[in-house]
Symmetry: C2
Subunit: 113 residues, 2 copies
């Protein structure tokens, strides 16, 4: 878990934000929640714009926080699959609300959509 500069350190919200702080983490969880299990490359294609390094790093941190599973098939070429852990799945309700909030407030700004 990242260092937290707040004196709000002993605040549950701060804790949650520190775990999910990485720029891409919510999105990675979100995509996995929709797709179930994805290989590294698939995940990467779903997050166009993310760099190789970034993705590896975020995945490693998410795994360390036990939010995602990493299943490695020892073969050539390598194959690694990622999926949500039970703990990771408990974040889905939050993402659902974020999704709902986004739908509600976004459409007002962009009538096109």
């Amino acid at each position: 878990m990242k260092e937290c500069k707040l004196n709000l350190y002993d605040c549950p919200v701060t804790y949650t934000l520190s775990v999910l702080g990485g720029k891409w983490k919510w999105l990675i969880i979100y995509i996995l929640s929709g797709e179930g299990t994805l290989r590294y490359g698939e995940l990467r294609r779903n997050l166009s714009g993310i760099t190789h390094k970034m993705l590896s790093q975020q995945l490693k941190e998410l795994e360390a926080d036990q939010l995602i599973n990493r299943k490695e098939y020892h073969q050539i070429p390598p194959k690694v699959e990622y999926s949500l852990t039970q703990k990771g799945q408990t974040l889905i309700p939050i993402l659902d609300l974020m999704c709902y909030w986004g739908e509600t407030n976004w459409s007002k700004v962009n009538p096109d959509n």
Copy 2:
């Protein structure tokens, strides 16, 4: 709203994350949701660790996205009060879930608390 590098740009979750992307925004909303109305200095004291520049900046962006109200009293010394807009208040359920999630998962890691 910030530039978004994702092709997930047309995704509600991405939209939400882009609006609340700043490091302190969730926290600012959270504090205002608990306190109602706060002056600049009070807000700052509640977010120990945040710098002057950061706070101003985040507040300005939140105001631009219509998540907070800024009420300025034209007097010397100046007095400015911040509070949530209606739109800002619609984020509270998300923060409640984050709070709940933090409580649930944090205590497991830190038995002391």
